[in-house]
């Protein structure tokens, strides 16, 4: 993204930029391990074995998102959510609280719903990541999305993608969810405009039909 910036071409610059050099790092942290030695992806000796060390500068990363491979160079501190939104322009997942409190950033990792704001991008590599963008197939809304539309389950719509993904995984697990399944399954998403009534109707419609 900043390829036009000669300052940032070199990971070494970037390390300075984050304000910690490896020497500083070891001084501050008082870690008693052998000092690393390899250039490129560095490594430390730990319990007699080499363990690779990533960062603090940018690290090349690779992701499988909605079945497609995406690559980027990111610092370890970048979250999956920010990588999706700022690197790959998959902006369906929203950043609202950034603290695991609201559900707007819900995506599936290995088919389980998680908060993308609270997963580091570096950990999400080589796992199947599914975002709301993948639900629509060949220009057609998923039945769940259709039910949201029919039951007017979005107003401003900012929370909607998160809810859609949460509902999707709920229905995958319980095709005919009981009220108790819904109570638990949708507890991790908040809406400010007050679309819960529409979402409830959408879920009622789907749990009858099975989605």
């Amino acid at each position: 993204m900043d390829d036009d910036d000669p300052n940032l071409k070199h990971p070494s610059d970037k390390q300075d930029n984050s304000g910690v050099s490896r020497r500083d790092f070891l001084k501050i942290s008082g870690i008693s391990v052998a000092v690393p030695l390899v250039a490129g992806p560095q490594a430390v000796m730990a319990a007699g074995q080499q363990v690779p060390v990533y960062g603090p500068g940018k690290v090349p990363m690779e992701f499988t998102i909605n079945g497609k491979v995406h690559k980027a160079s990111l610092e370890p501190r970048v979250t999956l959510l920010d990588a999706l939104r700022d690197q790959f322009e998959l902006t369906g997942a929203k950043r609202v609280c950034d603290r695991a409190e609201c559900g707007s950033c819900t995506v599936l990792v290995e088919n389980k719903p998680v908060y993308a704001c609270s997963v580091l991008a570096i950990e999400a590599q080589h796992k199947a990541i599914t975002t709301v963008e993948s639900l629509m197939q060949a220009g057609k809304l998923h039945p769940l999305q259709q039910a949201f539309v029919e039951n007017d389950a979005s107003q401003c719509g900012f929370c909607t993608p998160g809810f859609v993904v949460a509902c999707k995984s709920l229905l995958d697990k319980h095709p005919h969810p009981t009220p108790e399944d819904i109570r638990r399954g949708l507890s991790g998403n908040l809406c400010r405009c007050g679309t819960y009534a529409g979402i409830r109707q959408a879920m009622a419609q789907l749990s009858q039909k099975g989605a």
């Binding site: 990533y54 610092e75 609270s118």
Partner: protein
């Protein structure tokens, strides 16, 4: 978040040696549901993050006649879904499924849950675990302490222990296993939680380079066990009081009891007074009420949390009555 370097060891020994010998330099990353928020808020700022999720030995749930073993990386979703736990330790499964939200339960690990940091809003706003402003004023006593401790709050620590799973684990007499540079150790879970007296202590009996490796629970005792939470919002809200009880019965009388309260003190709070009040008594409304009174007898509410005394009392009473009527199942 400040920059950090990231390592992902595959063995416990590697992990231990990658951790620093003093707090501040390194942190263990498990599910990240708590740690990343702490780092974003600059409450902890490790220079190195040790991701433990690739350590196979820390995974898995197994039941045997010796009891239940849960690896540190067991997620709350695993706890809630495991058939053996649902059958033999239903109050634990129930506590797990009531915790947080599905998204968090999919990520949050058992060890992370035990080691999660307090939700005290002064702590989370950067005023320290024993919150003070720059001039040294203690913030909680004079501030908004509506969610703070009513027991064990005589010292500077006024936060409440945040896990809703821990009280029921203690009721089940769980033990925690740790591994560090000096080897392995095992503690009754209740001993893992300590009330810090100074800002450079933490609220766990955990060394900076120690890892929680597993939690073990003895075979299901012949006891009635239940867990009760009071939350204002139906779900996904921090509780105002939690109680877990284990009642060993002899005929229709209680032979011995374990009463653990959550959200009332800086540590999970065991109440020998309440246990005493139940011992050798029949299990009815009246004893439950007496035990509940005994549990909060020594409560010293702060300026804004008197109501929590009542809520703790109700939680204990309801947990006892729930256990009496068959508990979670």
């Amino acid at each position: 978040m400040r920059p950090f370097e990231y390592v992902s060891p595959t063995t416990k020994a590697q992990a231990v040696s990658l951790l620093g010998a003093s707090w501040g330099g390194t942190e263990i990353l498990a599910g990240g549901t708590d740690l990343l928020a702490l780092m974003k808020d600059d409450i902890v700022s490790p220079k190195r993050l040790v991701n433990i999720k690739n350590i196979r030995d820390l995974r898995g749930i197994s039941s045997s006649p010796q009891g239940l073993r849960m690896g540190a990386l067991t997620t709350l979703a695993d706890l809630a879904d495991d058939a053996g736990i649902k059958k033999n330790y239903p109050a634990l499964a129930e506590a797990a499924i009531e915790a947080a939200s599905p998204q968090i339960r999919n990520m949050a690990t058992l060890a992370g849950n035990l080691c999660q940091r307090p939700r005290c809003w002064y702590f989370r706003n950067g005023f320290g675990l024993l919150p003070k402003d720059e001039t040294g004023n203690e913030l909680v006593a004079d501030g908004d302490n509506r969610y703070h401790a009513i027991l064990g709050n005589e010292g500077p620590a006024k936060f409440v222990s945040p896990s809703t799973i821990v009280p029921v684990l203690i009721a089940y007499e769980a033990k925690i296993r740790l591994e560090g540079p000096k080897g392995k150790r095992e503690l009754p879970l209740e001993k893992f939680f300590v009330i810090p007296k100074s800002e450079n202590e933490r609220e766990h009996d955990l060394g900076p380079n120690e890892i929680v490796t597993e939690v073990v629970v003895p075979p299901v005792p012949n006891a009635k066990i239940a867990h009760y939470e009071i939350r204002q919002k139906d779900v996904f809200d921090w509780p105002l009081a939690v109680a877990a009880v284990a009642l060993k019965m002899q005929g229709s009388n209680v032979e011995s009891a374990r009463i653990v309260m959550g959200y009332v003190a800086p540590v999970p709070w065991m109440s020998p007074e309440a246990e005493q009040a139940l011992t050798a008594q029949p299990l009815d409304q009246e004893t439950a009420q007496k035990a509940a009174e005994a549990a909060v007898k020594d409560a010293k509410p702060l300026s804004h949390n008197e109501y929590k005394v009542q809520l703790a009392r109700v939680a204990v009473k309801r947990a006892i009555l729930k256990a009496a009527s068959g508990g979670a199942a």
